[in-house]
């Protein structure tokens, strides 16, 4: 099994507030990690560090393949003033053939001409998840991907994640609701000193 990610003794603090200290873990291909913790425990901060957006205060992150990370965060990276279709064309996509299948599955295919701003909250989230579905990265970093999704879309997401695990992708995600994906747990509430 290949090691996709190794975190060694990560510490992160903002203005003297320590969020986590001495966090070490490995992530192998085909495995998933579910980051747990209360609000403000540092889940988003950890995931940002993993995806390379920010740097830990101390400790180090080693990735097997630096460029191949897919990150889906609280922010949707959608252009509100463009239609769904235009937003799709802005998406840098690896699997072009699957677009229509996914649009149909997520019940977005009728909304291609609608401006993103007038979509419902969950529909926007689904559109943002297309970035994940159409991507071919080795490491998937998801920050609360289920927020605002209805049951059906949650199931689609989970089954997609399970598929990805079988395809030897590595997953790390945070979520307050439990996802139906086999995973190890990291609890940040315990990591606070």
């Amino acid at each position: 099994m290949k090691k996709i990610l190794a975190a060694d003794n990560l510490c992160y603090s903002i203005n003297e507030t320590k969020l986590f200290q001495g966090l070490s873990f490995d992530l192998f291909e085909g495995k998933a990690i579910h980051v747990l913790g209360g609000n403000g425990s540092g889940k988003t901060s950890l995931l940002k560090i993993i995806s390379g957006l920010s740097k830990p205060t101390r400790g180090s992150i080693t990735k097997s393949n630096k460029k191949n990370v897919c990150f889906v965060g609280h922010k949707n990276a959608l252009k509100q003033y463009l239609t769904v279709e235009d937003n799709l064309s802005l998406l840098e996509v690896d699997k072009h053939n699957d677009i229509n299948a996914f649009l149909k599955k997520l019940e977005l295919s009728k909304l291609l001409d609608v401006m993103v701003a007038s979509l419902s909250y969950g529909q926007q989230k689904k559109l943002a998840l297309l970035r994940l579905f159409l991507n071919d990265s080795d490491l998937l970093v998801l920050d609360e991907p289920c927020v605002g999704l209805d049951r059906k879309s949650q199931d689609i997401l989970c089954s997609f994640l399970r598929e990805q695990k079988e395809e030897k992708k590595a997953l790390i995600f945070s979520s307050h609701i439990s996802l139906d994906v086999d995973s190890e747990y990291i609890n940040l509430d315990k990591a606070i000193s």
Binding site: K48, S51, G52, L53, S54, K55, K67, V69, F71, G73, H74, K75, N76, A77, L78, K79, Q80, Y81, L82, D86, S89, L90, E92, R131
Partner: protein, 215 residues
């Protein structure tokens, strides 16, 4: 190439983004004769002042959310994950803004220049100056906006004004050169020199600043 297309699409569709500044420019240039009554001599003398200041302001307006929008909706995050350095993206963005806003404004400015000074020669001389100046302004204001990314564009303006004021002085000299019929080529090369340095250095600095913001 893909980046350029993307940025073109985004800016074009956001009419407030590109048509807006151009309209404001036209507004200023049209409004200004109204405020000086029809004493045509005054008009010509004040024209260049207004032209430069309008250009400056409109470039300021135009760049207002050159990065902010992408930052707020998370696109910048995605880009930063994808690329080691954002300076390519930054340079592309500024270039697209120049093409869609800077060039039209330069043309319109030269046209107004022709209309008011009635001299096709000076209009032709203004055009390259405007083209270069708008590009410089766009770069500098983008820098300011990058620094003050989350804090609002006006902090950015405050920060960058001291950087662009010296440029205005040069522009003031250009006008005198044009009016007196002195060769203005020296100024053109001076501006070109400034521009080329700025084009090389600023996108890198901006990229660095943006990365820091995303942390």
């Amino acid at each position: 190439m893909k980046l350029i297309n993307f940025e073109f699409l985004k800016l074009r569709k956001k009419s407030r983004g590109w048509l807006g500044p151009i309209l404001v420019f036209i507004l200023i240039m049209t409004a200004f004769p109204l405020t000086v009554e029809i004493l045509n001599k005054n008009l010509e003398q004040a024209f260049f002042s207004i032209l430069w200041i309008a250009t400056l302001l409109v470039m300021m307006l135009a760049t207002e959310d050159i990065f902010l929008e992408d930052y707020n909706d998370g696109s910048l995050e995605q880009m930063a994950i994808k690329y080691d350095s954002l300076s390519g993206l930054v340079a592309t963005k500024i270039f697209v803004y120049w093409v869609l806003i800077g060039i039209p404004i330069s043309l319109i400015g030269a046209l107004y220049g022709f209309g008011i000074t009635r001299s096709s020669e000076s209009a032709l001389q203004i055009l390259p100056i405007l083209l270069i100046t708008t590009y410089i302004f766009l770069n500098v204001f983008s820098f300011g906006n990058a620094l003050s990314l989350t804090k609002g564009s006006i902090l950015g303006t405050l920060i960058t004004m001291p950087l662009v004021l010296p440029l205005l002085v040069v522009l003031g000299k250009v006008v005198i050169a044009i009016n007196l019929g002195i060769s203005f080529l020296g100024f053109l090369f001076l501006l070109l020199g400034i521009l080329s340095i700025i084009i090389l250095i600023l996108p890198m600095i901006i990229s660095f600043v943006i990365k820091a913001h995303l942390e």
